[in-house]
């Protein structure tokens, strides 16, 4: 097990931090507060000092406020030396987001055309409490948490990324699903004017990009709706302003730039399953024993790597989150339900 979900009764970092250190931190923060409460809002100081080298984004005021109230390091890797956070430039410069092109560098090049403010999310389907929500209102009731997760791509590379967001379970609870709700279906924005990949007449994807989870997967405490990373808002190429993060599944399950979340009765057909069902299943759980037809999944290349050190490591069952999620699949044949 590599990830620990802190229980409220657990010791906090503050319980074991020497007094001199936290007093000095308080002095530092006091000094910062002297600059005015608007400081955090102006974006010149991030609530978490670890990302001082990460460029400031262009977050709206409400999002800066949410970020400054983040519960930092809510979930961290057990062994931070093994699971080192990837540099921001790599996490934001090497992306699969086919709405903006198929080359790994295309999203960073072209996603600037996406307008993420204002943004609204529709929650509908088998719910008592649905509707269209401004992203601000959608996020408001929940506290931001920072979670450092491994991200494993089906192409056999992986990175470790610190996300900021809210548990999907809270959003679903608020929507108040009816007894018919069995799955959650997600949709990405369709707007060929903003998303050049959707203009391609050679695209095999039938837009919008669709993903889905079983309700119990969606309710798992690890499942996150991210609105930020590296102590700032999401860059567009990483799925701004709202994306899913399901750390025990291959990256393509973590749908980006979400505009619709529907609670549904039938299992949704996700986009990749539609394109090549023999290659991409609905579950897409990281599983070293089940190969993708094009890539062995037994190992992965942890990025960044270098020319002569591919940084290859063994892939773990459920990407290392088996303790938290294995029971979801008890009794299922994971070769069949891949």
């Amino acid at each position: 097990m590599l990830i620990k979900i802190a229980k409220p009764s657990d010791l906090h970092e503050s319980d074991v931090t020497p007094e001199s250190i936290y007093l000095s931190r308080r002095r530092f923060m006091g000094g910062m507060a002297g600059l005015g409460a608007g400081l955090a809002l102006s974006g010149h100081v991030r609530a978490n000092e670890d990302y001082s080298d990460v460029p400031e984004g262009d977050a709206p005021v409400w999002l800066r406020e949410k970020i400054s109230n983040t519960q930092w390091r809510a979930i961290t890797p057990n062994d931070p030396d093994k699971d080192k956070i990837a540099p921001f430039d790599d996490a934001s410069g090497y992306n699969n987001f086919f709405e903006f092109g198929t080359d790994k560098r295309d999203p960073a090049r072209h996603a600037g055309s996406l307008e993420t403010q204002p943004w609204s999310v529709v929650v509908d389907g088998e719910v008592n409490n649905g509707g269209r929500f401004a992203l601000e209102d959608f996020a408001k009731p929940s506290q931001f948490e920072e979670r450092i997760y491994r991200l494993r791509c089906v192409e056999a590379w992986s990175m470790v990324i610190p996300w900021l967001g809210i548990p999907l379970a809270e959003v679903i609870r608020r929507a108040d699903p009816t007894s018919k709700a069995k799955y959650v279906r997600f949709e990405t924005l369709v707007d060929p004017e903003q998303m050049r990949g959707q203009r391609s007449s050679f695209s095999i994807i039938d837009w919008p990009y669709v993903e889905g989870l079983r309700l119990d997967e969606a309710m798992n405490p690890l499942t996150l709706l991210a609105m930020g990373m590296y102590g700032r808002e999401l860059p567009n190429q990483n799925g701004a302003p709202l994306r899913l993060v399901v750390p025990w599944k291959y990256g393509f399950k973590s749908i980006k730039s979400i505009v619709r979340i529907s609670l549904v009765e039938e299992q949704p057909v996700n986009s990749w399953q539609q394109i090549a069902a023999d290659e991409y299943g609905f579950y897409a759980n990281v599983n070293p024993e089940v190969d993708h037809p094009r890539w062995s999944q037994a190992t992965e290349r942890r990025l960044p790597n270098s020319l002569f050190n591919s940084n290859t490591i063994d892939t773990q069952m459920f990407n290392g989150y088996a303790d938290e999620v294995a029971e979801l699949y008890a009794g299922m044949d994971l070769r069949k339900y891949y």
């Binding site: 086919f98 994807i205 290349r301 790597n305 020319l307």
Partner: protein
């Protein structure tokens, strides 16, 4: 004699132009501008580069016919060998940077993955053509040389198939190369091939 020196310069120029992309990609990697997975960057770029070399090589015969300029024919063997060099570097990038020189893994991938099998067959084909492109082989093979080297058409098909199987969601780039390949092959159809020299004559009038 000025002419031979001009031809030599032309050949050196083509050599440098073919080498330039490799140097450029190398510099990108050395200056950390190739992203978090430089091995994959080289693998993909060199692969596309190899396909371009093959298409350029196969364009030289119709270009010669059309323009009657000797320079195109003169660099055909060189570009053919560059194609082989790119293909070899592409395979080596895969073995070195992606598989980390794990030969057992290469063996099992070669059996399991159709796109790798097809790529490997194409590379072996190119190696055979490369090995038989020296003067001695041309003399030895005599009349059989030409039909043997027409296998480059088959190799082009294999390379496109290899590429096709790697594409995941958007066929645009592949379709572009396939269209160029179709054009290059169309110039080999006897009626087109016959018309090419006349076409130039007509255009120049």
């Amino acid at each position: 004699m000025a002419a031979p020196r001009v031809w030599l310069l032309w050949r050196i120029g083509v050599f440098l132009a073919a080498l330039a992309p490799l140097v450029f990609w190398g510099c990108q990697v050395a200056s950390n501008a190739a992203g978090p997975e430089p091995g994959n960057y080289l693998l993909l770029n060199i692969g596309i580069g190899g396909l371009c070399m093959l298409l350029l090589t196969l364009s030289l015969t119709p270009l010669t016919k059309f323009t009657r300029w000797k320079g195109f024919a003169l660099i055909r063997r060189q570009l053919g060998l560059w194609t082989l060099a790119y293909a070899t570097l592409h395979m080596l990038s895969y073995a070195l940077f992606i598989l980390g020189l794990n030969w057992a893994l290469l063996g099992s991938e070669l059996i399991k993955r159709p796109y790798i099998i097809v790529g490997m067959i194409a590379l072996i084909g190119l190696a055979v053509l490369g090995a038989t492109s020296n003067r001695w082989s041309i003399r030895r093979l005599g009349k059989r040389w030409k039909p043997l080297h027409k296998f480059s058409y088959v190799i082009l098909g294999l390379v496109l198939l290899h590429f096709f199987w790697v594409v995941r969601a958007d066929m645009q780039e592949w379709a572009m190369y396939a269209a160029i390949a179709a054009l290059v092959m169309a110039t080999r159809l006897p009626p087109v091939a016959r018309t090419l020299p006349k076409l130039r004559y007509r255009l120049s009038r």
